[in-house]
């Protein structure tokens, strides 16, 4: 209903405070000093490349979370972002390493391949769901593992991989495929494709809120039966939503691959997909909310170095992430209930029911 600043901003604030309290307790049990720890976390942002790293990693999380959110909008639970981005990353880097193209074209080619592969991998659970009714949760869980297997197969030296030291990687993409970053000198370099994440966010918002497609998607998510009666082809929506989600997932790894690594190696980190789920939920599927969620998550991730520096076990970061997710949603609920009660009281007074209401 009405966009109420209090209802939007209060919950996350409460949640962060609650999470801080929880972690303080944990810290004090182990004999740490919470103030020092939190101080170190804040202070790190200004140091070295941390701020830039937060933005860079945040952009990756953002894309992953958008991919998840697209599915969520129609109650499709795409756990498979994990497998989709991994497979897309390796195939795109193999393809990108194998072709010679002029600069911008080369990059575009890689991005398109990545999106296509992500979409194709997401199409499997979509098609299984449409034609065979296979629950997408189970199929995407299975496909994540299978994607790992395929990636492992592709990266073998005898297939597409190259051995560099003790590490295997795809051939390095020629410079024409790279995306130049925005260098901030000693503060690091922001990946050029952070722009892609921003564009994806804007696109997501426009798509969901301003287009017929977004309307149909949300309608199917809210009530499949009502959507069908309204002429929405539910099966098509499942397919399209999954394809879009998969395509977005396919781009997840691109900012860092085209902005820094230029090759997919065994060191490529896993679990962006799962982080994406948490961030999407944290941001309540709203593009701006997700952006905050992604940056917060990245910030917490980076804190491990700073925390270690002051002798605090970095596991506290994971605890903090878990408690923030939980406290945010609990806080939203609590604020919602308070607002509701307040509204009820107000109505009581307005409509002039005799006595004042006992709160």
């Amino acid at each position: 209903m009405k966009l109420n600043a209090r209802a939007v901003l209060l919950p996350p604030l409460l949640a962060i405070i609650a999470a801080l309290l929880l972690c303080s307790i944990a810290l004090m049990i182990s004999g740490g000093n919470p103030l020092e720890a939190f101080g170190a976390m804040i202070a790190q942002v200004g140091r070295g490349t941390t701020a830039v790293d937060i933005v860079n990693t945040g952009s990756t999380y953002y894309l992953a979370a958008l991919a998840v959110a697209i599915g969520f909008q129609m109650k499709l639970f795409n756990i498979g972002v994990e497998g989709q981005y991994k497979l897309a990353a390796i195939v795109a880097m193999i393809a990108g390493g194998a072709v010679a193209l002029p600069p911008v074209l080369h990059t575009l080619f890689i991005l398109v391949v990545a999106a296509l592969v992500g979409a194709m991998w997401a199409a499997i659970p979509a098609i299984l769901k449409i034609t065979r009714g296979v629950n997408e949760v189970i199929s995407t869980i299975m496909l994540n593992w299978i994607a790992t297997g395929i990636a492992a197969y592709l990266i073998q030296q005898s297939v597409f991989g190259e051995l560099r030291g003790n590490n295997l990687g795809t051939p390095v993409v020629a410079e024409s495929g790279w995306v130049p970053g925005i260098s901030l000198g000693g503060a690091g370099t922001i990946f050029g494709l952070v722009v892609l994440a921003v564009l994806a966010g804007v696109g997501y918002w426009v798509l969901m809120n301003r287009t017929r497609f977004g309307f149909e998607l949300r309608a199917s998510g809210e009530s499949a039966t009502a959507a069908t009666a309204g002429g929405v082809n539910a099966k098509k929506m499942v397919l399209v939503a999954m394809l879009l989600s998969g395509a977005t997932a396919g781009l997840v790894a691109m900012p860092e691959l085209l902005g820094r690594d230029y090759t997919y190696t065994l060191n490529f980190p896993a679990a962006y997909g799962f982080t994406g789920i948490a961030v999407a939920l944290l941001g309540r599927n709203h593009p701006v909310g997700i952006a905050f969620g992604a940056l917060l998550w990245a910030f917490l991730d980076k804190s491990s170095v700073a925390l270690e520096n002051v002798g605090v076990p970095k596991e506290i970061v994971t605890i903090m992430q878990g408690s923030i997710v939980l406290s945010v949603v609990v806080a939203y609920e609590v604020v919602r209930r308070i607002t509701l009660a307040a509204e009820q009281r107000k109505v009581g007074q307005q409509l002039g029911t005799t006595d004042e209401v006992a709160a």
């Binding site: 182990s30 756990i79 065979r132 789920i277 948490a278 949603v329």
Partner: protein, 423 residues
């Protein structure tokens, strides 16, 4: 009478349905037994024809049991929660809590204490999930994701605090005493003899049975017992009826005086306890090691998948877990050759399906099945060994294929995942 309606497609169309209900079908358990028999038949035939005894060896089945237990227990956990209408994607986190608690108590007071502690620690995770989802109406998936994070974080943290001083390793517990195993003797020996005689069919069945009756730990027995217990409690008791009603239509349940919150709490806490036991099944059986960071390795998710696979029913879940355990055990123990033999078994099984489909005059389905079988046979014929990268994920592939092939009549609890507020 049958001139009118037999199996009503939509609820309304049954308005004038009277007398006999929908056409009598075989009871579920007998269908299950038939399927199991068919699978064993296909496996032993394939084992004979391809000369790969591992398909039906007792070792493979013993391994299958071992690998299936954590998944089964986690799945049972999922079943309890979802039957009460609470989606539990936090099984993984609860399982991790269970491994930690089990190791912590087991190390100090022995395996039984470990078992209890694993359940208690898992239940704590469940309690948190219940508080979040039931009391605060938090989206079940959000809460589950948070619990997975918390489970991982808290156990790491606690390990650094409590295990490191003893094990000198923040990621591991000190060795944990294990359960003893039991075997049904002399049945086990007799079966072993039979298996070693390498007689077609008989030896296969003997191998399978031997794998199931030897080297069984109390934890395994408990896990298997929990399947019928779950069935009896959820489907044959008053508590179970109330619990399931909360997953089907909580408003109706509440309107009949069922305390929905209470039952949901109970279900989710039991769910956590079961997931915790699943964690214990990773450390208290003989030959297993103590607590190890990340040792659950996604088994909670697989448990969830097995539960969906099993159509939210204990026996189906058992089937899903067994299938997964079997395929995983086979590929881990025997590698690519055995996997190819399994393909051969699948071709045989599809052959039976084709005959059945022809008999039912389902031409299109027959064509699809035949082409599937042909593809599998082609793979079997043209590869000497499948890439190990792929065979490692055989269990996942098998699960996916079985799901896609078997007709989907999944029936989740109607109010599963739906937030419920009183009043």
């Amino acid at each position: 009478m049958s001139a009118v309606v037999d199996t009503p497609q939509s609820p309304d169309s049954a308005a004038f349905l009277a007398g006999p209900g929908p056409k009598r079908k075989l009871p579920g358990w007998s269908v299950g037994l038939l399927l199991v028999a068919a699978a064993i038949g296909a496996l032993s035939t394939a084992s004979y024809l391809t000369g790969v005894p591992q398909l039906t060896s007792s070792g493979t089945f013993q391994t299958a049991v071992q690998l299936a237990m954590p998944i089964l227990l986690a799945g049972l956990g999922g079943l309890w929660a979802e039957r009460a209408g609470v989606v539990n994607i936090g099984l993984e986190g609860m399982m991790i809590m269970g491994t930690w608690g089990g190791a912590w108590a087991g190390y100090q007071w022995g395996p039984w204490a470990g078992l209890v502690a694993a359940a208690v620690f898992g239940a704590l995770g469940g309690l948190l999930h219940a508080i979040a989802t039931v009391t605060f109406g938090v989206n079940h998936i959000v809460s589950g994701v948070a619990i997975n994070l918390l489970g991982a974080g808290v156990t790491k943290y606690l390990s650094t605090l409590l295990f490191q001083p003893v094990s000198h390793n923040p990621r591991e517990s000190p060795p944990v005493p294990k359960f003893d195993t039991f075997s049904m003797q002399p049945l086990g020996d007799w079966l072993a003899e039979l298996e070693n005689e390498q007689r077609v069919g008989i030896s296969d069945v003997a191998g399978i049975l031997k794998g199931l009756v030897t080297g069984v730990s109390p934890l395994t027995m408990l896990a298997i017992l929990l399947v019928p217990i779950t069935y009896l409690v959820l489907w044959r008791s008053r508590f179970g009826l109330r619990l399931r009603s909360c997953g089907e239509n909580p408003v109706a349940a509440e309107s009949l005086g069922v305390n929905v919150y209470l039952h949901k709490y109970a279900a989710v806490i039991v769910s956590g306890a079961l997931a915790g036991l699943g964690g214990a099944a990773l450390l208290l059986n003989p030959g297993q090691s103590g607590y190890l960071e990340n040792q659950t390795n996604g088994r909670g998710y697989i448990g969830l998948a097995a539960m969906i696979f099993g159509n939210w029913r204990p026996t189906g879940l058992l089937g899903g877990a067994a299938l997964f355990g079997y395929a995983d055990g086979l590929q881990l123990r025997s590698g690519g050759g055995a996997v190819l033999a399994l393909l051969y078994a699948a071709v045989l099984a599809l052959g039976v399906v084709v005959i059945w489909q022809l008999w039912r005059r389902r031409w299109v389905a027959t064509a699809v099945t035949v082409s599937g079988a042909l593809i599998l046979y082609w793979v079997y014929w043209s590869f000497n060994e499948l890439p190990s990268q792929i065979t490692t994920y055989l269990p996942h592939l098998v699960t996916l294929v079985v799901l896609a092939v078997s007709a989907q009549r999944l029936r989740p609890p109607a109010a599963n995942g739906v937030e419920y507020r009183r009043g």
